[in-house]
C-alpha cells in the first residue's frame, strides 16, 4: 500500500488505518463524530497528501487550462484559486478539481487521488496541441489541511507569512516551519481553514503533523480522519466524485451551474452543455432529510411515486446538525423543496423530503 510522508505520525497518534484507493490512511483517531464536531467548533488537522498535484506550464498554459475546464480560468490572477469541473465530451465529470494560478504561464491542478492517473492521461492528451508541459508531481507533495474556526490561530504559530490577510480561495508561497510551502485558504469541510502543500522527507512531515496536533490541543484542534472529512463535506453539500458526481451526470444535473461558464469560449463538453442549458435538465442532484427514523447510505434505492428511480449518492447521519441526510438525483418535477419520496432501508420504505442545501452553513 502507498504511504504518505505522514504515515508514521498516524500510527503514533492512534489512527485507525484503512486502505483508501491504495493509500494507508486513517479513517479516524478518537472517533468520527468527535472529530467532525471538533472541526465545526474548534478545528481539525488532516493528512490529505493522497490528493494529486498536476502542473501545466508554458506560454499557452491559460488557453490549455481553459480548454479542459468548465469554469472561467481567465478570471484568475496569480495567487487565486478556482473550483471547476474537468468535463468529458458529454459535459459530465472526469473529475472535479481546484486550479491554482501561479503565474500566467503556470497553473497547478489539484485532483482526486482515485482519479489521478485517469486525469493525468486525459489532461496530457487534451493539452498537447497547446504546446504546454504537463507534470504529475503528486508524489513530491505532502498536503495537510487545517480546518475550523481556530485554524488561523494554530497556523500563525507555524509561519511568519501574513496568513491573516489571506482571503478565501487565495494562496501564497511561503514557509511553514522552515519548509517552503504553498499556503492555501481552502478546504473540504465547510469551515474556514488552510491547505498546505510542501515537499519534505518523512521525518519532517510526520514531526510537523505531530507538532500541529500537540499545539492544537490548547485550541481544541485534534487530528481528524477520512470519516470526518466525508461527513463534513456532505453536511456542507460539497460533491464527492464517484458518489455525487461522475461520468454519467452533467455539470447542470449536479446543480453546479456556477462552475459552468458557457460564454468563456470553446472547451471540452461545451456543446452538449449548451444544448442542455437551452433545453433544460430532466433530473437534478438535491439534498434530502429522512422524515422518519433511519440513516440513508450511499447506494440505497430511491423510489419516486412508488417507482425505483435512482440511488442515494451520499448519505449519513450528520454529526453536527444531528439529522439523517443525503444527496440524490431526482426527476426535475420532484426536485422542489418539500417534495416527498422514499428511500429503501433494509426492505422498508422510509419517507424523505427535499430540503434546502447546504445542510450546514458556517455563520461567519
Amino acid at each position: 500500500m502507498k504511504k504518505t510522508t505522514i504515515n508514521s505520525a498516524h500510527y503514533h497518534l492512534g489512527g485507525k488505518m484503512i486502505d483508501f484507493f491504495g493509500w494507508d490512511l486513517p479513517v479516524q483517531y478518537s472517533g468520527l463524530s468527535e472529530e467532525h464536531n471538533a472541526v465545526r467548533t474548534n478545528g481539525g488537522i488532516f493528512d490529505v497528501s493522497h490528493m494529486g498535484e498536476i502542473f501545466i506550464k508554458g506560454d499557452s498554459a491559460l488557453d490549455a487550462v481553459q480548454y479542459i475546464t468548465s469554469n472561467n480560468i481567465s478570471k484568475l490572477k496569480p495567487g487565486k484559486i478556482l473550483y471547476t469541473a474537468l468535463p468529458n465530451e458529454k459535459g459530465c465529470f472526469i473529475d472535479d478539481m481546484l486550479v491554482y494560478m501561479i503565474t500566467d504561464k503556470e497553473y497547478l491542478l489539484v485532483v482526486n487521488a482515485a482519479n489521478l492517473e485517469k486525469d493525468f492521461k486525459w489532461i496530457s492528451s487534451k493539452v498537447e496541441r497547446f504546446g504546454v508541459s504537463t507534470e504529475n508531481r503528486s508524489d513530491e507533495y505532502t498536503q495537510i489541511a487545517i480546518q475550523g474556526p481556530n485554524a488561523e490561530k494554530l497556523l500563525t504559530q507555524f509561519t511568519n507569512d501574513k496568513i491573516t490577510e489571506l482571503k478565501y480561495y487565495y494562496f501564497l508561497m511561503g514557509k511553514v516551519g522552515n519548509i517552503d510551502a504553498i499556503i492555501s485558504r481552502t478546504g473540504y469541510t465547510g469551515e474556514d481553514g488552510f491547505e498546505i502543500y510542501f515537499k519534505s522527507d518523512e521525518k519532517t512531515a510526520s514531526d510537523l503533523f505531530i507538532d500541529l496536533a500537540e499545539k492544537g490541543k490548547d485550541l481544541g484542534i485534534i487530528p481528524a480522519g477520512l470519516g470526518a472529512r466525508d461527513t463534513l463535506r456532505l453536511e456542507s453539500k460539497m460533491a464527492l466524485y464517484g458518489n455525487d458526481i461522475d461520468d454519467s451526470h452533467t455539470i447542470l444535473e449536479a446543480d453546479l451551474g456556477w462552475i459552468l461558464k458557457l460564454k468563456k469560449g470553446d472547451f471540452i463538453g461545451r456543446e452538449p452543455l449548451l444544448k442542455q442549458k437551452e433545453e433544460g435538465i430532466s433530473r437534478k442532484l438535491v439534498g434530502f432529510e429522512l422524515t422518519e427514523k433511519g440513516v440513508p447510505r450511499h447506494g440505497y434505492k430511491v423510489f419516486v411515486d412508488g417507482k425505483h428511480y435512482s440511488e442515494v449518492t451520499s448519505g449519513t447521519f450528520a454529526p453536527f446538525i444531528r439529522k439523517p441526510i443525503g444527496l440524490v438525483y431526482l426527476p426535475l418535477e420532484h426536485s422542489e423543496i418539500g417534495s416527498k419520496f422514499h428511500v429503501e432501508i433494509r426492505g422498508k420504505q422510509v419517507e424523505a423530503k427535499v430540503v434546502e442545501t447546504p445542510f450546514y452553513k458556517r455563520s461567519s
Partner: protein
C-alpha cells in the same frame, strides 16, 4: 465495571442470565467500534430467533451494524427507551444500553459463550 455475571459472544454481544431469561446487549468494545450510535431497530416482542440470527440493527454515524442473537429463543422484552436515547449504548453498554430480553430455548448454547476473562483474551487477538 464488574462483569462476572456477563457472558460474551465472539460477535461482541453480551448475555446476562435472569433465571430462564437472558438480557442481551453489545460489549464496550463493540460500542467503541461502532462509534456514535444514532438509531436502533429493535426486534419485535414475541418474535423468535435462532442463535446467530440478525435480530436488530444499530445505526451509528459510521455504518449500520447487525446485531446477532447469541442465544435461541423468543424475545420477551425490548428496551424501548433506546428509541429516544440510543446513545445509552455508547455511554452505558452493560446497563441502560441493554437491547432485548430473550426466553432461552436451548441452554446448551450457553457453553459456547465466553466469560469476561476469556473475552478479554479474545479481544487481545483481534
Amino acid at each position: 465495571m464488574d462483569l462476572k455475571n456477563y457472558k460474551f459472544s465472539k460477535d461482541h454481544e453480551w448475555v446476562k442470565l435472569e433465571d430462564d431469561m437472558a438480557v442481551i446487549g453489545v460489549s464496550d468494545y463493540a460500542q467503541k467500534e461502532m462509534g456514535d450510535v444514532v438509531y436502533i431497530e429493535l426486534p419485535e416482542t414475541g418474535s423468535s430467533f435462532s442463535e446467530g440470527d440478525t435480530c436488530s440493527n444499530i445505526e451509528s454515524v459510521k455504518a449500520v451494524n447487525d446485531i446477532f442473537t447469541p442465544l435461541s429463543g423468543e424475545v420477551v422484552e425490548v428496551n424501548t427507551s433506546l428509541e429516544d436515547t440510543p446513545e445509552n449504548i455508547n455511554t452505558d453498554p452493560y446497563g441502560s444500553g441493554w437491547i432485548f430480553k430473550i426466553k432461552i430455548s436451548d441452554s446448551a448454547e450457553l457453553t459456547d459463550l465466553l466469560d469476561a476473562d476469556q473475552y478479554e483474551e479474545y479481544l487481545k487477538g483481534i
